[in-house]
Symmetry: C3
Subunit: 140 residues, 3 copies
């Protein structure tokens, strides 16, 4: 079924400092604090961002760069293991100064102010493995 | 007030297999595993989707079909009881290959890869009932 | 680091009544029920909404008014303390009847039907304080 039952762990509220690269910051944070599986959500603003769209035929990412002061409308994702480290898979919805929204896989972003909620799941390890059918690295 | 306090139940990470219809898959999964109330979120990609917009005057849904490889930027919703079965009410934000976003009520979607977080709530049953004022089936 | 570990508290499903102003309703609800920190998410529909975009240079909000029946695709945020009261910081993604999405900081909205999930965090108080660098009121 691809369904994994875990146990509740710790929970965190996090302010990501201005100027940080968001993806690297989350990666450092979850590895430093030993958060191996979980749920992550966030809101805030970034000064620039790169979002990706996976081409389901060619199995390559296309990317879009946004600049100029952007609201994080929704940051949603999960935490699991990938190549022996904790890994956050994050998708993001962003709004420009007219309110128009752009979204996709979060490749990178420069933080203006970002507030995260992290809920840790424990009790078993969930590790991503390469998946030939999609070309992605997925839960088995 | 319409406020219902519940207790924490199980929590799950779920990979929905490629090719599945997402709404039917979630419905099967929550009924099979006895998840009666809860929170659900997800990210991923679908190959096609139908989203709905409720006309608040005529009380009818209008629908939009999207095709061509679409990112799930945000899947958010709740689980409660409807006509004696577990029911997931899901809204979805989708991005096309230019990053432009479309969203609404999730009527149906064909999965490319979808990862869900489900947090079960227990301790009381919450059942949807028809609501004349909105024309929807709501918590009392 | 700006990372705060909290303990799990209560959890709630909430139906916000039609006609309510969403931001004021959430504010009343969390203060009345003593929810001091937490995670909040929601879906539904509103009849009108005002969303804001923070200008990172001038430190002023610009606003956009939407009317005409709008889906709440994603309501995401957190609860913490501000000036001695519980405060919800909420961002929202909205879709019009063509499915086009607009998003930003939620300034206000008139509810048609809104369903919230609230997860309370306890164990320590997290209070917002003025932050000169961003011009916002942030976690320290």
């Amino acid at each position: 079924m691809g369904l994994y039952e875990l146990r509740e762990g710790r929970r965190f509220l996090v302010r990501v400092p201005r100027g940080e690269e968001l993806v690297a910051h989350v990666d450092d944070l979850i590895n430093e604090h030993g958060i191996e599986q979980g749920f992550i959500s966030g809101i805030g603003a970034v000064s620039e961002a790169t979002i990706g769209f996976y081409d389901q035929d060619t199995h390559e990412y296309r990317e879009l760069d946004l600049t100029g002061g952007i609201e994080i409308v929704s940051l949603l994702g999960n935490i699991s293991q990938k190549e022996g480290r904790s890994h956050a898979h994050l998708h993001i919805g962003l709004a420009d100064h007219e309110g128009r929204m752009y979204g996709g896989h979060l490749s990178g972003a420069r933080v203006f102010l970002t507030e995260l909620v992290i809920v840790e799941f424990t009790g078993r390890e969930l590790e991503r493995v390469p998946d030939e059918a999609t070309g992605l690295v997925c839960w088995p």
